[in-house]
């Protein structure tokens, strides 16, 4: 049990509890003759009891004021959950609707829809450790793997703000994977890539990503927010010449992800409803037993101390009431 004070300087008042030794609660009275007042073991003990309750009352009030508490503790528990890193596309096209238009009042942009659904997902998963990385042309470090849900929600909020330049998937994934570098391996590890486009990866990027996915054992979910009539993951090339990563980056990125040695799920999403379904599936699949740290908040002990003080005070009041008044 670890004890601590929130205002330790208030303990400077503690010497005040010795005051009852220097002074008495009662009026001093003259007695005609000492033998009239019999000193018996009972009176001696009563005197000590009164003294002790005064000292204890003052001391426990002061200790209570200083804010004695049991420190916050972390307890390892097992639950269901995962370590999830969201890799979010911040490119400009995310601000369009699934129809490829600028959203009007009744429509949601892809980014808005993704934000709302991801934020619901986050609040429904109490034991997960979550992180967020963003990318457009360059990756951004947003929030490390953390249990602070409010910070993750704030990071997901950023999806609603205007997008930036282009889609550089490789760098975004690299940033997301780097979050697992110093993490203990427990439960499932997941990268959720949310993007509305793809890019061709050069050989160097492919090699690095393949290595890192293998090293950190992270499974990959790709929520591909497809624009209506746009190319998709499963689009077939019209002619053999078109079957190259420049013309059909989505198809080739999907092919590359399939060659990774880790579990990979792709969801081609072209309506808000299908996005909801795929997030529900993620929720279902990634619920392996996980060791997580639960924080037990600090417990103040002042209630106990004030109660002791109150008891002592009530005793003193009783005794004082019994004092002979002249």
């Amino acid at each position: 049990m670890n004890l601590a004070f929130s205002h330790p300087w208030l303990l400077l008042l503690l010497p005040l509890c010795l005051l009852p030794l220097a002074s008495s609660l009662f009026e001093r009275r003259a007695a005609a003759s000492i033998p009239l007042v019999m000193l018996s073991p009972v009176t001696i003990w009563l005197h000590r009891l009164i003294l002790a309750s005064a000292i204890i009352s003052i001391a426990s009030l002061i200790i209570g004021m200083a804010g004695l508490h049991i420190l916050e503790q972390t307890v390892s528990r097992t639950g269901n959950g995962a370590h999830i890193v969201f890799v979010l596309d911040r490119s400009a096209s995310m601000n369009e609707t699934f129809g490829g238009k600028t959203p009007d009042e009744n429509e949601q942009s892809k980014a808005q829809a993704a934000r709302r659904l991801l934020s619901e997902f986050v609040s429904n998963r109490p034991h997960d450790l979550l992180g967020v990385a963003g990318f457009s042309t360059q990756p951004f470090y947003v929030s490390p793997l953390t249990e602070h849900k409010s910070a993750i929600q704030a990071a997901i909020n950023s999806m609603e703000t205007p997008g930036l330049a282009f889609t550089n998937v490789a760098k975004g994934l690299g940033m997301g994977l780097s979050y697992f570098k110093d993490q203990p391996h427990t439960g499932s590890r997941v990268i959720v890539l949310v993007s509305d486009g793809a890019a061709s990866l050069d050989h160097r990027a492919q090699k690095t990503l393949r290595e890192w996915f293998e090293r950190y054992r992270v499974s990959l979910y790709w929520f591909f927010l497809r624009t209506e009539n746009g190319l998709g993951i499963y689009s077939e090339p019209g002619s053999p010449q078109d079957d190259n990563p420049r013309v059909m980056p989505e198809r080739h990125l999907h092919k590359f992800f399939n060659t990774l040695s880790v579990p990979y799920h792709a969801y081609e999403v072209d309506t808000v409803e299908s996005l909801q379904d795929s997030i529900a599936e993620l929720d279902e699949l990634e619920s392996l037993p996980l060791i997580y740290e639960e924080k037990i908040p600090r417990q103040p002990l002042s209630v106990w101390l004030y109660s002791i003080a109150l008891l002592g005070l009530l005793l003193l009041i009783a005794v004082k009431l019994l004092e002979k008044r002249s």
Binding site: H7, L10, L13, L16, L19, P20, A22, S23, S24, L25, E27, R28, R29, A30, A54, S57, I58, L61, I62, G64, M65, G67, R90, V132, G134, S136, T137, Q138, P139, F140, Y141, V142, S143, P144, T146, H148, S150, A151, A154, A155, N157, S158, E160, T161, P162, L164, A165, F166, S302, Y306, S307, A309, L310, L313, L314, I317, K320, L321, R325, S326
Partner: protein
């Protein structure tokens, strides 16, 4: 008799200390969005750290951000973003400075000039776009803290400066619109700007040949003042302009002017305490009612009453002599 009453009062205050519910009290909090310039000129090492070593404007701003985050009262919130060229990128909307401090610390430490998605720097446009971004649903009500050195590259044509009246129009109360603080980062003396290669290794400094020294964009405001003006082939003149744009200092006059236009405050970053004072300005206070526990105050009153009952300077014998019956 007096002591009996004070004992009873002490017991009453102890009861209060036990059962007093948290009372609503007004507290001062601050809600900020920190927006950091990550263009190249922020790499200039013209600040020194505690040990006297040179640190860049970027590192200095990051340290200042963390110091400020620690100095704001709990309940305050800080959001984070970076900007380059003309556009800001929000990393997260404001989060609480005490409870979420670990996240703030980790993400501020990772801010880097390599996050920049384009390399130009147009402070005025970026400020305009950031102020526009501040009107979005997730940020409205927060104040902007804009960390920049004011160095624009390439030099901009003042003719195409943004018009802030649109943003002013969006304010509910245009007259006391206080949008935040511009923090000027850098020293007044000019310093060399480090140059990096593709791998991120420093390969020297920018030289006068590396950078344009005057604006070449669009049309000049007053052609008659441009030397060698040729309407079609040389709207900016034909003379070679050589200036000191490869060196950088804090453009305080320019930033002060921008601050005036946008009704923001200006602060030149020197020490953390100064910045935190500038940020605790009355204009930025967000008054909130926060439940406050006053139980310790009740306990203190009880202790004082007990001290009164037992104070040792009482006369030894009762003062008033009573007539003997």
């Amino acid at each position: 008799m007096v002591r009996l009453i004070s004992l009873i009062a002490a017991a009453f205050f102890t009861l209060l200390a036990l059962f007093l519910p948290p009372l609503p009290f007004p507290v001062k909090t601050y809600n900020y969005v920190f927006m950091l310039d990550i263009t190249r000129s922020m790499n200039v090492q013209d600040y020194s750290d505690a040990d006297g070593g040179a640190i860049s404007r970027l590192e200095r701003s990051k340290n200042a951000m963390l110091a400020v985050a620690r100095s704001l009262p709990c309940g305050s919130k800080i959001g984070l973003g970076v900007f380059t060229e003309r556009s800001p990128a929000l990393l997260y909307s404001p989060i609480e400075v005490c409870a979420d401090y670990p996240v703030l610390e980790a993400s501020i430490k990772e801010l880097d000039w390599r996050m920049a998605w384009v390399a130009d720097s147009n402070i005025n446009q970026a400020l305009y776009n950031t102020l526009e971004l501040m009107q979005s649903d997730v940020l409205v009500g927060n104040k902007l803290v804009f960390f920049t050195d004011g160095h624009e590259a390439p030099p901009v044509n003042p003719r195409y400066a943004p018009d802030y009246s649109y943003i002013e129009m969006l304010q509910d109360t245009a007259e006391d619109w206080r949008s935040g603080l511009i923090v000027g980062v850098g020293q007044h003396q000019k310093s060399k700007i480090p140059k990096f290669d593709e791998e991120g290794k420093q390969i020297g400094f920018y030289t006068a040949e590396d950078v344009p020294h005057a604006s070449r964009f669009g049309l000049p405001e007053d052609p008659s003042r441009v030397e060698g003006y040729i309407p079609r082939n040389g709207p900016w003149g034909t003379a070679k302009v050589v200036g000191t744009e490869h060196l950088s200092n804090v453009h305080e006059d320019y930033l002060t002017k921008l601050a005036k236009q946008t009704k923001m405050h200006f602060h030149h970053l020197q020490d953390d305490a100064g910045l935190s004072l500038a940020l605790k300005h009355e204009a930025f206070v967000d008054r909130q009612v926060q439940p406050t526990r006053l139980n310790a105050v009740a306990a203190l009153l009880a202790v004082l009453l007990m001290v009164f009952c037992y104070h040792p300077f009482r006369s030894k014998w009762p003062q008033r002599l009573r007539p003997v019956r």
